[in-house]
Amino acid sequence: MLRIQNLSKTYPGGTQALKNVSFEVNDGEFLVVIGLSGSGKSTLLRCINRLIDPTEGKVYWDNVDVTAAPPTELRQIRRRIGMVFQQFNLVKRSSVMTNVLSGRLGYVNPWMSLIGLWPQDEKKRALQALGRVGIADKAGERADALSGGQQQRVGIARALMQDPKLILADEPVASLDPVLSHSILQYLEQLNKEGITVICSLHFLDLVHRYATRVVALKDGVKVFEGSAQEIDRAKFKEIYGEEAQEVRAASM
């Protein structure tokens, strides 16, 4: 279980990206975070695995205080939390295989990994992960030779290598067209059904309805809604998204 308590983040420039946000995520949930661009979704997700250190508040994961973990322990926590990004964040010049293997860096012998040596069974695991997202044949290609949808699948395979209990997906389909969006989200849905908790930020109402088991909405860094996906109708969506709601829905069709 993930518990977020009174989380606040103020950036050095003075921007208050999160204001006293609290909520809980039970194991096995597919929690969707919605909110306008700039409402603090990315900041929230990054505070959970501490890519960003929150200014105040706590994050507990299975009763371990993530916010207080020293570096070594933090890395142990991180290796069970997969992360998928809007811009895929692959190492473009490296091969697909290397990108996927790098998801395993928290587990393998650090010195071996530094000289680029990977055990045979890790390579097998990487090929399996690629197989699960349907692109095992791309293992030898350079990451930037793949299409956007394929790159995001590599991103998911990399997260899978971590043997994750939790996946954080920061607008994983915002750079993809609607058809590809569904194919990517279906992979996440499948993993969720296998027991991995997913926290995913999304923009489009239809996607929220289709995949979310629960929804948290942010507005200017404040949590303005928490509830089931069904409770979010157009009126509510418009309330959260304000004037831009029309555009957001139009784009999703």
Binding site: V91, K92, P110, L114, R158
Partner: protein, 377 residues
Amino acid sequence: MPTARIIRNTLLMALVVAAFAVSFNVTEADFPRLFRDLPKGKDLILAFLTPDVATREMDTRTISIAFPIPCGSAPNENVIPSEGPRLVPSVDCTDPLTKFTLEGFDLAPNSELVIRWKLPDERLMTAIRTRTDSEGYFTSEVEARPIIATKNGVASRLEVDTLTPVGGLKPSQALLDVLDAMFETIFMALLSTTIATIIAAPLSFLAASNITKRGVIGTSVYYIMRFIFNVMRAYDPLSMALIFAFWLSFGPFPGAMALTVVTIASLGKLFSEAVENIDKGSLEALQATGANPLQTVRYGVVPQVIPDFISYIVYHWDINVRISTIIGFVGGGGIGYYLNLSINDFKWHQAGTAIWAIVIVVWAMDFLSAEVRKRLT
């Protein structure tokens, strides 16, 4: 305020003109001289244009006669044959500072001749170079300089080498020496570049804001590294070479060390900028997997910066070949030093060989580095 601006502009113009006049003066600029003095440069340029690259295998035959100076200072036992290759001086002996005629008969026709004195102490002094005609005859005026005088009853000898080409062309000694020296320069530059890379590559990560500029310690390290690189870069390679020459005296080693220091600074700066320009997203992704900082650099930063690093390294090797040529000229060994020696000895054809070698190598390195950079981007 247009008047103020006009005054200001006029003053500026006057300043520019004055500055130009001063520069003209201190350079002793005299452009017509470029043309007036052209004849003086002609021989030099011609010599440069005809580099010494090939020779023929030469068959050398030497004939010599004793030649007492002054007369009676030593017995004269020369027996000059009436036929066959022979040297015939117009006089058997002479006094210092006089001239006489030396003739040669039945030598190899159309051959190069070197006429020289072999002093009583065995030292050799080349006097004249000339050629035989188609009959194998030559005549030449020879001066009896005081240094050639007889010592302890032993007369100096007049020696004449006849050089007849046999066999085909082969690389001249000058060409071999130039290749040797060029090799030295290229590898001196390679050594400097390699050592500099080994030192600059890890340090550059410390001088990259996205890697180190975090927390008090990281930020201090970042600024210290930046400072060191900037200070090191403030020295140009030549003055650095002079500093090292004081310490290690002249030769290729101090030159290479000076080059290394300058290259560390330059590469360090360029490398750290390459590191700063990487895509942060992939670093974030690696951190999120639980990778430690070294792993993050190895898998996130290194693959992104390798092409930039390689192209900077090749580029610096290219630059360093040029610089070490110049450092060599002031005593640092290699092709520059060879060029300097040839010029000091008035061996213009050899100097020409060296210059051609420099031109070709600089062009080739330039081409190579451009090609490598093109491939990598």
